[in-house]
């Protein structure tokens, strides 16, 4: 058994807030200080902080690891250490094999050059040879879908075309280790689909993949195992479903309830009949438990439930009152428990659950919590869009010309 292709061995990375010394005036004192004092890499100086603090993990051959976490949790730093752009302050990063990083697609593009020239430029930047690019050139152009514009300078491209060409080049590097950072969000729906398929292909080909994304659904789909970063540390690592649920629970935990609020949403749980869940299949039943606490007396409270898709379109909205449940009046210290049952006739995607406390007759909103939870829905058939209408094909007959009811008369 050979060593795993990616190993992080108690890695620390230190960064500095604010400006580095930018001119000689700041440099000379810093240099003398550095010469006079012994260096302590483990000690933090003024304005310094740990971007990564004792991070250790391994990725096995052919494994796809998802990396999730809030902004500033240290995901990008992990990627930069992986790709060799930076070196850790302490600890070791060990890599085996050719690495390709889809970190910023089109980073190497020069706007004055044509698409063709940029394919070669960007391809060599990503580590391909010119012969290799020449061989894959047609496939790249085809993937990007821009045969007609290949000899146009890329400064005339739309931003979507730019990103598509960038991804197309990057997708044709055959790496042993692929590092992907939030690039599946470029292009239109069809192109995104294509990118995801390409990633699946890379994973199937036996490459090791590290995938950083805020698109939790894509992480759940592509990566069996995930890693959750939080303030420079590993908060959780394990099966994606568990890690993603932990991530969402933490996101909820970060909500600060205004202590002055008269009444507040205090807990929201998404579950099936037995246990807390994140992943659902279309048509399954989900329960959403809502807990509300009152600080002072509030009258005629109703709970509003809202479901948004990833593009923040509201796909569904209802409330306890509109469903015929009389609003509740709470005295100080009272707790209201409300459970919604939903049949998830939804299409593929991540759906964010939002909850609101309303008083309908006074048109007053007491509290809102969005996103309070997320549900990842996988449909049972190949459909696109926010909902599943459980389509089947009822008729698919070809009526042949000449044999059909109204044959087209042959022209003489």
């Amino acid at each position: 058994m050979s060593a795993p292709p990616v190993v992080f061995d108690s890695v620390y990375k230190k960064f500095k807030r604010g400006e580095l010394y930018d001119s000689l005036r700041d440099l000379i004192p810093a240099m003398t200080r550095r010469l006079l004092q012994p260096r302590h890499p483990e000690a933090l100086e003024r304005r310094e902080f740990w971007a990564l603090n004792d991070v250790s993990f391994e990725v096995k051959q052919g494994e796809a690891l998802g990396v999730v976490g809030a902004n500033g949790a240290g995901k990008s730093t992990v990627l930069k250490l992986l790709s060799g752009i930076m070196r850790p302050t302490m600890g070791a990063v060990r890599m085996r094999g050719r690495l390709s990083a889809l970190i910023e697609v089109g980073a190497g593009f020069h706007t004055d050059l044509t698409g063709r020239e940029n394919i070669f430029l960007n391809g060599t930047i990503l580590g391909m040879t010119r012969a290799e690019i020449a061989r894959k050139f047609d496939a790249i152009v085809d993937f990007a879908g821009m045969k007609d514009f290949i000899d146009t300078p890329v400064k005339r491209y739309s931003s979507g075309m730019f990103a598509r060409l960038g991804f197309a080049v990057a997708a044709h590097v055959d790496p042993d280790i692929l590092v992907v950072d939030e690039v599946l969000s470029v292009g239109d729906y069809v192109f995104q689909q294509k990118c995801q398929e390409r990633m699946e292909e890379v994973i199937r080909s036996g490459a090791t993949v590290i995938f950083v994304s805020h698109n939790l659904r894509a992480v759940a789909d592509l990566c069996p195992r995930s890693l959750l970063m939080e303030r420079g540390k590993i908060a959780a690592i394990g099966p994606s479903e568990e890690v993603l649920r932990a991530y969402m629970q933490r996101a909820q935990g970060q909500r600060v309830v205004d202590p002055e609020a008269p009444v507040a949403l205090t807990r929201i749980t998404v579950r099936d009949a037995e246990r807390e869940r994140l992943d659902f299949r279309s048509g399954e039943q989900a329960f959403i438990d809502v807990e509300v606490r009152a600080r002072v007396r509030v009258e005629r409270i109703a709970v509003v439930l809202d479901l948004h898709d990833e593009s923040h379109y509201s796909v569904f909205n209802t409330s306890s009152e509109r469903l015929g449940t009389p609003p509740a009046t709470l005295d100080p210290g009272d707790t209201l428990h409300c459970t919604f049952a939903l049949d998830l006739h939804l299409g593929a995607g991540a759906f964010n659950v939002g909850l609101y406390l309303h008083r309908y007759d006074a048109q007053k909103q007491y509290d809102h919590w969005f996103p309070a939870a997320t549900m990842l829905v996988t449909p049972d058939r190949d459909i696109r869009g926010a909902v599943s209408l459980y389509p089947t094909v009822q008729r698919y007959d070809v009526v042949r010309a000449g044999a059909g009811l109204n044959p087209v008369p042959a022209t003489t």
Partner: protein
């Protein structure tokens, strides 16, 4: 050092493409296009001849055709030096998005900038060769010295380019110092004149490692004399030290590039 060179050889296609990018971009959307590669050194040569002529007039001496040609022979490598050092010392800053986003051996950026200038140098040298033939300068075995001298010259310039690229990444001050230096260095380098013009201080001028190389070029090409070998050896040591030392320092600083740029 060996590993560094091996990686450079492996990524030679990238070096080529980056140099090609620099060349293409320089002449895109300009009416004159590639003619600029000829015109720029041409202007420097013209300025040099004018200055040399001015010296002669004010000193009431006669300027010979050979002296004019010697000025041309020295001006063209000088134009290369100015361009290569200017572009390579800015090469990392101008490629910030690549330096911070994608891994590659970063010395490729100053080297590609130098390589792009070498193509301009070659174009200008070809034209110079035509000029020399037209003026019946003639040929001799001494001409073979041109190749090693130019190689040492390029090595010296590349070494400085690598050093200055790293230095200006950390301190933008370097960028301005380089500009001032490039503007005034021509007064202290025997380009438009010869170090023999100053009988007492001439050898001090040759301490500038560029000077023996430029004078060596004019000596071999125009006067068919061997260059002053001890001085050429002196420049060679400079070239090797800047190149190897520059690259070693560059590689030591490289891990800090992405977070310091």
């Amino acid at each position: 050092m060996i590993a560094t060179l091996r990686e450079l050889v492996r990524r030679r296609d990238l070096l080529y493409m980056l140099a090609l990018r620099d060349i293409r971009v320089r002449y895109k959307q300009s009416v004159m296009g590639f003619l600029w590669a000829i015109l720029m050194p041409g202007l420097i040569v013209a300025a040099g001849i004018l200055v040399r002529y001015g010296f002669a007039v004010s000193g009431r001496t006669v300027v010979t055709a050979s002296e004019m040609l010697a000025v041309s022979v020295k001006s063209i490598p000088w134009a290369f030096l100015v361009g290569a050092i200017r572009f390579s010392s800015n090469s990392l800053i101008n490629n910030t998005s690549l330096v911070t986003k994608i891994y590659m051996p970063r010395e490729i950026f100053p080297l590609a900038a130098t390589l792009a200038q070498i193509t301009d140098l070659l174009v200008a040298l070809t034209l110079l060769a035509v000029l020399l033939v037209v003026f019946h300068v003639g040929a001799s075995w001494e001409l073979l010295w041109v190749i090693p001298i130019l190689l040492i010259f390029v090595l010296l310039v590349a070494g400085w380019g690598i050093l200055l690229a790293a230095a200006s990444l950390f301190f933008r001050d370097v960028k301005y110092i380089v500009e001032v230096f490039l503007t005034f260095a021509i007064f202290f380098t025997p380009v438009f004149y010869d170090s023999s013009l100053f009988p007492h201080y001439g050898h001090w001028l040759l301490l500038n490692p560029v000077a023996p190389l430029l004078q060596g070029l004019s000596a071999t090409v125009v006067y068919h004399r061997a260059p002053e070998l001890p001085w050429v050896a002196y420049s060679t040591v400079w070239a090797l030290v800047t190149c190897i030392g520059g690259l070693a320092l560059f590689k030591r600083l490289e891990p800090y590039f992405a977070e310091s740029i």
